[in-house]
């Protein structure tokens, strides 16, 4: 199923906006491989994804949370989208970096817009995770559990 992104998502050439406002929300598509209880979203994110950046949409450039259900085909420049199965979860950016994060891992957002998705943002962690020892693995588990507590479901689901 193809999709032409709305005008507000187009961003050609991409312009970067590193200023995140306090009330901004990020949205993420959560693939429902199997039925999972509420709050289990980040169990299924690989640790390496945090190093490369977990893709999210930022609300400043994304008017509809359901936009997160669409994935870009190809290299991101041809504006061909595919509707993915899953549900949309969200959290406030302030909750990511607020005092609730006692994981020992600093999280931050980096705006990385595509031509056809101006809201695309990477959720990254710092410092880089070296996961050779038990202590760091425990930190990674804490990071995932932390994200599970702050991301909430929007109720938008695509099961088709």
């Amino acid at each position: 199923m193809s999709f032409t992104p709305p005008e507000y998502l187009k961003n050609d050439p991409p312009t970067f906006d590193e200023l995140f406002e306090s009330g901004e929300v990020i949205y993420r598509r959560h693939a429902i491989r199997v039925k999972v209880p509420l709050g289990d979203y980040f169990t299924y994110i690989k640790t390496s994804d945090f190093l490369d950046g977990v893709s999210v949409n930022r609300s400043k450039y994304c008017k509809d949370p359901a936009d997160a259900l669409w994935a870009i085909n190809g290299d991101g420049s041809n504006c061909s989208y595919e509707l993915k199965n899953g549900e949309v979860v969200y959290c406030l950016i302030t909750e990511l970096i607020g005092p609730g994060n006692k994981t020992g891992i600093t999280l931050y957002c980096k705006h990385t817009p595509f031509v056809c998705n101006s809201s695309h943002t990477d959720l990254l962690c710092q410092p880089d995770l070296v996961i050779a020892d038990i202590e760091t693995k425990q930190k990674v588990i804490n990071l995932k559990l932390f994200l599970n507590t702050i991301f909430k479901t929007t109720g938008i689901v695509n099961n088709s």
Binding site: G39, D40, T43, K102, Q138, I141, N142, L145, F146, N148
Partner: protein, 214 residues
């Protein structure tokens, strides 16, 4: 052992030689007379089984310890008091197999969930990870008379960890078994922001106890 379990409805298959002797009576559904060298295992089994089901008693006859299970279905609603189960407990107590199989039916249910989780994932756990996880399931099945396991979920995470998850009113509790040796974690993800923690364990018994009681 597997053959014995499958044929366990046949009374003649009960081992009667060696240090074990099987006795039945009209009142008791079955009990095992155990030799003294088995007493330690037996007492351990009594601790697990006697305290959880409340219908087993430690007794002595001819100077030797034995276990009695009373035929009262009200006391043991979930076991149906079938002969198979009786034999299963006898096998467990006599140390012919690990007595964590005492409630084999519940272990099988958990193992079924584990197999389902593996089917949904392309990941094949290594032997060490598999054995650690199976030990977790065995340990959990010991407690199945007092904890409801029907809501437990067993999954494979994106980092190829094997998970047991239980959603309670206060949040989600996890047992996480990683790919490498000693990667055994208990995790808790609460419903309030900032309410989460994980802890590393070395002992299967300890992590299961924490998982069930927190």
């Amino acid at each position: 052992m597997e053959t014995l379990l499958r044929n366990s409805h046949v009374k003649k298959d009960i081992p009667t030689s060696g240090s074990a002797e099987y006795i039945t009576s009209g009142v008791e559904t079955g009990f095992m007379v155990l030799a003294e060298e088995r007493a330690k295992v037996f007492n351990e089994a009594i601790n697990v089984y006697g305290s959880y089901q409340g219908s087993y008693q430690l007794n002595t006859k001819l100077g030797r310890p034995y276990i009695v299970r009373y035929a009262n279905e009200n006391l043991i609603p979930e076991t149906n008091l079938d002969y198979f189960h009786s034999l299963n407990s006898v096998i467990g107590i006599s140390n012919l197999m690990d007595f964590s199989f005492l409630n084999r039916a519940n272990y099988v249910k958990l193992f079924g969930k584990y197999e389902e989780a593996l089917k949904l994932s392309a990941y094949v756990p290594n032997t060490e990870q598999k054995m650690t996880f199976i030990n977790i399931l065995k340990e959990l099945s010991k407690y199945s008379s007092i904890f409801d396991f029907s809501d437990y979920a067993i999954k494979v995470s994106a980092d190829e960890e094997l998970l047991v998850m239980n959603e309670k009113s206060n949040g989600i509790h996890y047992i996480i078994v990683g790919k490498e040796n000693q990667e055994l974690f208990y995790g808790f993800s609460g419903k309030l922001p900032g309410e989460y923690n994980s802890q590393h364990y070395k002992s299967t018994e300890e992590i299961v106890y924490t998982f069930l009681t927190k």
